[in-house]
């Protein structure tokens, strides 16, 4: 239950086309993350799946049935919003139970479902409170609880962690991953944060300007990006793009991740001078300025000392180079 199939979905607002023909299959029980910069159409795509926006063209199939004309409430899905969107006039219990009440379920069943969801998210102590009396993290847990109560075929998350602070974000991320394991439900998650995408997803869909750039598991995208956009978007710190001609390859770009560069004071392939250092304890980031390639980030493990404007040399790991042509597409060996 919960397989989703998108066929040639397009969406235009007036003359501007924001979704340009997307084909995508989400398998049952899969955790699928849509990731991309703001304005890439990922939230619009999610809202089309939810039924909150109509697709201009194309078909949306849920479990093989076309649902283009089915109202959002009848698609058997639940959505968690960035702004929580709790009903201000209802307490936590009624917030969570509203969908079942609207569906005309008996009172005992509603109580059982809300209690079960509250148990999963440790919300029991908060059931009688209004949203105004909850902290940001608690509100987001209630919003997630409201989604669980319905036992939907499909969970939709629209940047659910963006309004939380860093520590809470990590905790809630782990909680969402645990829920996915426990419920085994299909989940679609929209984010602009590649760390969330990498840590949560079974499969990542990278979107740019209304088109799918690449679909794959986190490690496929990390180890095998199709173009400079995906290569630059996945992985942190960002991949370095070096001038291919300066390294003796065909014109274009050569990508190398900061963790696959060796830094030496004495000799190496690329000469440059240190422009900045960031010491994070477990790792040290060295920013090197080179005449041929611009600023290059190097990631070293452990603590290292370099002085600003000290001369240094880089040697890339030859097995970890990605070759891109002048258009930015990957050049397959």
């Amino acid at each position: 239950m919960g397989a989703l199939d998108l066929k040639r979905i397009t969406k235009s607002f007036g003359a501007t086309e924001v979704i340009k023909g997307i084909d995508l299959e989400v398998r049952e029980g899969e955790f699928c993350v849509f990731v991309g910069p703001s304005g890439c159409g990922k939230s619009t795509l999610l809202r089309i799946i939810a039924g909150l926006e109509d697709a201009t063209a194309g078909d949306i199939l849920l479990d093989g049935k076309r649902v283009n004309d089915v109202a959002p409430a009848r698609r058997e899905l639940a959505m968690v919003f960035q702004s929580y969107a709790l009903y201000p006039h209802l307490n936590v219990r009624d917030n969570m139970g509203l969908a079942l009440k609207q569906a005309g379920k008996p009172r005992a069943e509603i109580a059982a479902s809300t209690d079960r969801a509250a148990g999963m998210l440790s919300l029991q102590a908060l059931m009688e409170r209004r949203p105004a009396e909850l902290s940001g993290g608690q509100r987001q847990r209630v919003a997630i609880g409201r989604a669980i109560v319905r036992r939907p075929k499909l969970f939709l998350f629209d940047e659910p962690l963006s309004n939380l602070d860093a520590a809470l974000r990590v905790a809630t991320r782990i909680e969402i991953a645990r829920l996915h394991r426990e419920l085994g439900a299909t989940m679609i998650y929209v984010t602009h944060d590649q760390v969330e995408a990498m840590t949560l997803a079974d499969r990542i869909v990278v979107l740019r300007a209304g088109e799918v750039e690449q679909v794959g598991s986190p490690m496929e995208l990390y180890n095998n990006p199709a173009n400079t956009f995906v290569a630059g978007f996945i992985g942190s710190p960002q991949m370095n793009f070096l001038d291919a001609a300066a390294l003796g390859f065909a014109p274009g770009k050569v990508g190398i991740r900061p963790e696959h560069l060796q830094l030496s004071r004495r000799a190496g392939e690329i000469a440059g001078s240190v422009s900045h250092i960031e010491k994070l304890g477990g790792e040290t980031l060295v920013y090197l300025r080179s005449d041929a390639h611009g600023l290059i980030t190097v990631r070293l493990f452990g603590e290292h000392d370099f002085a600003v404007s000290e001369a240094a040399f880089l040697t890339p790991d030859q097995n970890r180079l990605f070759h891109f042509d002048t258009q930015g597409s990957r050049r397959m060996p």
Binding site: G51, L52, L77, Y87
Partner: protein, 278 residues
Amino acid sequence: MSARLSPGRAIAAHAALLTYTAIALFPVFVIVINSFKSRRAIFADPLALPLPGNFDLVGYQTVMTRGDFFLYFQNSMIVTVASLFCVLLFGAMAAFALSEYRFRGNMLLGLYLALGIMIPIRLGTVAILEMMVASGLVNTLTALVLVYTAQGLPLAIFILAEFMRSVSDDLKNAGRIDGLSEYAIFFTLVLPLVRPAMATVAVFTMIPIWNDLWFPLILAPAEEVKTITLGSQVFIGQFVTDWNAVLAALSLAIVPVLVMYLIFSRQLIRGITAGAVK
């Protein structure tokens, strides 16, 4: 307070505001004190306070005995409350449609509905009277309610549409996914969140209706449908005016509108809205 004023500036600001308050309240003050005085005392010294020497309730006695004053009061209340209800309900519904749904001609319709703010409804008095005569509504409270609803709607739609645009889309969408109808979303989610704006619109709409003399005089001058402003006119004659009664009637007329204002201004306090989103 974020910016502390220096004592000199604070005194100056308070002096200016108090002066303005005194000027604004002075006519009301004069009306109320003189309503408790004898006719001779009103003319001898209009600014004197009602003291044992000149205290007289003759104005109130006249008001209570002559003319059907409670009926006038009741008529004014019915017209004001019914018009207010219609303006708020239909205004909010139109504002919701304009702010929530994308449809062809949305902008034009919004502009058309707002046009009424700029054109005084009294310019159409003759046409309105002809319509009321044709539909047999002359000398009914219904006529007044209809006219005042039309008069109040443009501003109500204009203000409420702006406020409704600020209500979180996520909240409405959460309602749609949970299976709430558009009506339920409007009444249970959106209306409570724009309550402060509703109260503002209510105050702006209510006062001109309560005070209006024009339409009651033209559309409903019959004894049994007179409003309080029109009813008070019986004490103003061409040659003799019963000032005691006029002042007493006006003093009484302030009370209901003051009570309604206090009720609405309490609504301006946001409470329930906090914590809906973010």
